[in-house]
Symmetry: D2
Subunit: 333 residues, 4 copies
């Protein structure tokens, strides 16, 4: 019963086929046929012209996106528990050359126009204070919650009104789209989003993530900075192939739906132990220390998430038996 | 007849087997069994205790190595045509936070104790001048030349005498070892090398390179900086698997020998057109513009390398027919 | 009645005499007789061997100190309202190359061993989280409070226990020493402090602040970084002269005592309107909007400090008439 | 006979009067009356609208200027012996966050359109190479040579044609203007210059230099970065006062003319020992080791400048007796 992270899951079989198919010589870096096709493929997916770059990690995608949207002397408004603030070892500061993460609290890892506005209003507009230049949200959030298209658009509105660029960390973007059953454009450019870190690795991928720029004018700069960050792989076709394999036949959505469905089943069993509504593939379950120990004794693997709380993440390939077993174990506590 | 770069070559079949074998869930990042085995595997290969980290590019390996060896206010002595100086879009400056590359000229892309000493002697020891803290060489060099163990050790001696850390960019380290037929330790730690960017991708790999630290005390710092650079992949086992597949059964050496042998055959045909001795898998051939055009008309693909010079790179998997054809074409010019 | 800041105050007459006296040619940068005397002068003042560097601003002193104590990938624990976090436009991030300010809340702008420990305990010790490397406090604080020698030493103890370097932003260090009537060593090295930004400009200076390193082994590095930050003035003797002029005849303490005494007189008049005990030269006074307007109509100049609060700063040269007038005006509200 | 540097010279008496006059309380930072007057004063001097900021060093002026004109991933074309490349401890790299200085050789420390073009042409326009974004020259140069208005304009033309911003390091700008007897606008904005580091300290100043932006749209950004660099002094009026004092009554030009005239007199005596034409206040004189020793025995103070060369700098306040004595000593060698 491994529910520690969707990072530990396997890669989808289609990835392997795609890698094998890509193994003929082709131009290096991102000059190959597959890499060159990404802009068009993602433009079609999103219904608008985008630039799409592969990178090896979500941390790199986030760092490159934020560096394109915020100058070294600027600030990035984000949730206090955002991955970029807590789990990337300062990569945003590294990529932006020292921009400041300006944090906002809020339930479920979510920002609202009101909390963002309050934070901005507290910053005097003078040369002594770091002035925010960007807003970054995570969808689905670090607490497995989603921003609806309307919620995203409301944040996009305040970003625009306050002169902030708008970034979405979409490590689990597929899970959000699957839950909301909406067009991916509604969670991004139609809502004012400038850049999306579009996660594939947690969702059946192997080692390729996508950075989507809804402002293609930023692409040249970001491609330079990708190289400068050591993220321009020599045989880029193997990166592009992975992403394309998951886009084909809607695998990215099927994988996310599978993970979400597993989480929903477990959520039912967890009942009012849930600290957060389950809107994607993560569950935050109230467990006493002894209950957590009991679950672990039954083979449960998961992270403690602060006092009396445990996090369970369901992967795209989670065996049904494990889902059933965890649900039963939780119900039986 | 594609001889533009060993970057365009295919990945070795063993890579694909290894990736498939690694596709069971395991701990994320570098906590998996394969990643954790790298230190021991490379320690055995080099005959001394090392720390070994996978990264996705040689540029990242170089950047992380230099950042560990040189502070932001320091300098890195390197050849004026070194990859780190010319072909990494400023990644060394990015990773080191602005250290200065202090360049030295020299035939064949090679440094010597004399040229290094002259450069160092020209720098006054005061607070106004950037003081070098590291020395970096490329072996095999950007001109397909190798540093022998003795030459490397002589540079290691001056590095030590002048208080410089010593880094080797080994994008084609395997080719150098194959040519010199020496123990890899002789080109590294026995010669005073502190860190090696050990290239696999140009040598039959897919998307994993190794950074070898001969000072394992640096490993903790470099692991943090790897994460901070966005280079800690979530499913690291797929990185480790690639490297291990090329180390097994001596594939890394076999691949390099194949590429070197192809280059040697072409070199014979090129005769006194060669601008540099061929000591690895690259050839620098004097061609007039019309000769270059004629070769291209015959299907030759290669880079112009300044006025009247062309670069040909032979890959590990270069078809014999292409080698024969290029040799014949050069001989017939 | 100008009480907006001690930044607006005049420079002490002795400064002008010292500048004039320093106007003979002497060696450039910090090679002159006066600059070279600083180490010894401050070593005597603090009763231990220190290195002392002039800089032009407290922000530079803080940035250089933090960069010497915390690597780019590290964190600096400080109060959420610390000057380094709120009022330096990201200079600490600039000088440290992106270190993260890890903030702690607390009354009076003060940290305690308990609040620091709680913050540290919440940070998992892994590669994904920025690990704190330094602790920074402001004494006197941004709320005009002081840390006693014991309080400072208790923070020094936890810093040492947790492997953190310890920095004091002493923009108003003189005011703290004057209030506590203690040896300056008790608030610094005897309490485990590694570096002090020793402010002079707010205390009768003109354009020179001192950075005191209680670890003289850091001096060489900091001198290099001072130059690299553009803070090594060409005619450094004019910087040193200013500082020495304020150290002579105990002017730094006399000035601070004068400012503190003025604040104490106003505090008495402000009575229970005070939001913070007045322990240095700043007062935080509860004022309704209409009361603030009334004061301003009477010629009062001061900053609003959030909802219903106003900040008054008394300068070393504040005319007695202004002190009396403000006290009367507050009492009459 | 102190001719080591114009850094060691005294400050002009008018500076002291101006400092005393500025010693009434005024708004902090650059909000005071004097600082606020700089834009207008320099706009009048240059005959166009400029933004003018005081800083404490030429290194800071250069760093801030380059950071405004070149992104972290860009390059700055400059002479190999430029102050920014050799004598600022990497400050340009620090302020630009790692931009690369792309160096060009040339007699007299001078660049020409031809040498700049050749350097630019050698850089492939791809993502692997650092692309230059700015051009920086020093006028007068590090070898005491000047760029005429025509020469400057020709460089401005190539800068514009190649998309480079154009910066002038004018540590000795006054000396160049004095020699050329031209309008300062001819050496700057009329020639396409975007930013000028306008030196005052070597020319009778104390601790204030000016950064002149001929693109006032950059001012807001540079003011933020000045604060972030720790260069926004609290009592900025003392900075502005110094600069204004030297601008008044044409002191800046009178001082430069005095220094230039002294150099010219010595040049006559030095005759064909001169390695460079003397066009400002520096002399580069061929001296054998024994000749140098003899001069030093006579009380001569100067720097060796490589093999068989010595540098003499004449200051604005150089006593006539020293000038006469050095001239005689050189003639007598």
């Amino acid at each position: 019963m491994r529910f520690t992270s969707d990072n530990i899951a396997s890669a989808h079989p289609a990835i392997f086929e795609a890698l094998a198919a890509a193994n003929a010589p082709d131009t290096g870096y991102d000059g190959d046929r597959l890499s060159r096709s990404l802009d068009a493929t993602f433009s079609e997916l999103f219904g608008t012209e985008v630039a799409a770059l592969w990178v090896a990690t979500g941390t790199a995608a986030n760092g490159l996106a934020l560096a394109a949207l915020c100058p070294p002397h600027g600030g990035v408004v984000c949730h206090a528990e955002a991955h970029i603030n807590c789990d990337e070892a300062g990569a945003p500061e590294f990529y932006t050359h020292g921009a400041k993460l300006v944090t906002v609290e809020g339930a479920g890892g979510k920002l609202t126009p009101a909390t963002v506005a309050a934070r901005l209003d507290a910053i005097p507009r003078d040369v002594h204070r770091v002035q925010p230049h960007a807003l970054s949200i995570t969808n689905a959030t670090e607490y497995g919650r989603v921003y609806t298209p309307d919620e995203t658009a409301a944040l996009g509105d305040i970003a625009k009104a306050r002169g902030l660029a708008f970034h979405v960390d979409g490590a689990r973007f597929a899970n959000a789209v699957a839950t909301l059953d909406c067009h991916p454009g509604e969670l991004t450019w139609r809502a004012g989003v400038d850049a999306l870190s579009f996660g594939f690795v947690k969702n059946g991928g192997m080692s390729a993530e996508a950075l989507i720029l809804f402002r293609p004018d930023l692409a040249e700069l970001v491609r330079v900075r990708r190289k400068r960050g050591g993220h321009l792989l020599s045989k880029g076709r193997f990166q592009a192939a992975q992403i394309l394999a998951l886009l084909e036949e809607g695998r990215w959505l099927a994988n996310a739906r599978a993970a979400n469905a597993g989480a929903a089943r477990i959520a039912q069993a967890a009942g009012n132990r849930l600290a957060e509504p389950v809107e994607a593939n993560e569950l935050f379950v109230r467990l006493s220390a002894s209950e957590a120990a009991r679950l672990r004794a039954q083979g449960g693997e998961f992270y403690d998430w602060g006092e009396g709380l445990a996090r369970f993440v369901v992967s795209w390939d989670q065996p049904e038996a494990e889902i059933v077993a965890l649900a039963a174990a939780l119900a039986a506590l």
